[in-house]
């Protein structure tokens, strides 16, 4: 099973990002049972698109045959694409990717089924 986490620089020790569509990268973890088999970092080519970043990022995830997305917030268009493709989405922002994967496998993460806005704009409004 493939789990894609929205991340910054990417990697198993990186933090799961709040943003989905405009995340810097996706860290895609292939899991067999509870064992992590491979870790791939995919640069998010949609991050700097002027419009439709969530839609384009969702296409990347679908093309990678991911089954699960770990992120913080997903907008309505990205959610529609991921749901249509049968990808399930879980809230894991702030956790390390490795820990988030473990928590997902342990059934400890909250599933996202409705669109949400990021907690902090694009980093402009902090606090």
């Amino acid at each position: 099973m493939k789990i894609a986490a929205s991340t910054f620089k990417g990697g198993i020790d990186d933090i799961v990002a709040e943003h989905f569509g405009r995340a810097e990268s996706f860290t895609i973890v292939d899991v067999d049972g509870s064992e992590i088999q491979t870790v791939e970092v995919l640069k998010n080519s949609a991050a700097n698109q002027t419009s439709g970043a969530g839609v384009a990022a969702s296409q990347l995830i679908v093309n990678k045959d991911a089954d699960v997305v770990l992120t913080g917030s997903v907008g309505p268009k990205a959610l529609a694409v991921l749901q249509a493709a049968g990808v399930r989405i879980y809230r894991a922002s702030g956790l390390k990717v490795g820990d988030a994967v473990k928590k997902y496998l342990g059934g400890e993460l909250e599933e996202i089924t409705a669109p949400t806005a990021p907690k902090r704009g694009l980093g402009r409004f902090k606090g």
Partner: protein, 269 residues
């Protein structure tokens, strides 16, 4: 003769200048700030004579013909199309109606349908006014701005949207003269410089009007002198004018200013 009123910074006085310039010189007015049209508020006795819906083309996919090749998605510059294993999804609000997807579809599975994006309202008062009202949620005002522009026949004052991006460019590009409204503030000066750059690229004739004249900052006047930008008029900084504006009233006591500005434009064109 088309005179466009633009500014860069919002709130410098485009609407004040546009409605008074049009009224006191008897010229038709076109409010192209379709995301927030407000010129009509100054013509209270006006009768709405016409309201027409404006649409643009967006794609629909015949799923029975589609083989999910993804060509449409690849040619879409705006990420409006996603192709899954057994479904092609279209997000019409992201679509810019370029038609590339239907043109390049090898299966001819994509056709284009009308999507309403807003309306044009034409009203008759002492002068004629036409303005666009964009549907909430529509990403680009440009197609509606184009549609309102097609109503222009003969002399016109154009009230452009603020900023220096596509909606402003579309609003002023066919004008014979652009009046940039600035106020004596550093923020307005900053955006005035941006607006001048845009106008230079479009190779249009232009001049400036200084609103809220009397505020202590002199950077705008200096810039206009340095760049040899003709200052066509100065509207004084006055709480009375602000009160008038907030009630949607025209500035009868200052009508000479608006006549002089118009004469100044005519001399330069």
């Amino acid at each position: 003769m088309q005179i466009a009123i633009a500014s860069g910074k919002g709130g410098t006085g485009k609407t004040t200048l546009a409605v008074n310039l049009a009224y006191f010189n008897g010229i038709d007015l076109f409010d192209l700030d379709v995301e927030e049209p407000n010129d009509y508020l100054f013509f209270k006795n006006a009768k709405e004579v016409e309201s027409e819906v404006v649409s643009r083309k967006v794609p629909v996919v015949d799923q029975s013909k589609c083989d999910y090749c993804g060509k449409c998605r690849d040619v879409c510059e705006y990420n409006a199309i996603v192709v899954l294993k057994d479904e092609t999804m279209i997000f019409p609000e992201l679509c810019h109606s370029c038609g590339a997807c239907s043109y390049f579809c090898p299966q001819e599975a994509i056709s284009e349908v009308d999507r309403p994006i807003g309306k044009i309202i034409s009203i008759k008062s002492e002068i004629n006014l036409a303005y666009g009202v964009l549907e909430v949620g529509e990403a680009s005002p440009v197609p509606l701005i184009r549609a309102v522009k097609r109503k222009i026949a003969g002399n016109a004052i154009i009230d452009a949207p603020p900023g220096t991006s596509c909606p402003m460019v579309e609003s002023i590009r066919d004008a014979d003269f652009v009046v940039l409204v600035a106020e004596p503030t550093p923020f307005s000066l900053h955006d005035l410089k941006l607006a001048v750059k845009v106008i230079d690229r479009l190779d249009l004739k232009f001049g400036a009007v200084i609103n809220k004249h009397g505020l202590p900052f002199d950077g705008v006047e200096k810039f206009c002198r340095q760049e040899k930008i003709p200052v066509l008029g100065r509207i004084p900084f006055s709480t009375e004018i602000a009160e008038r504006y907030s009630k949607g009233e025209l500035l009868f006591e200052y009508r000479d200013i608006f006549k002089e500005i118009y004469d100044g434009v005519m001399e330069l064109v």
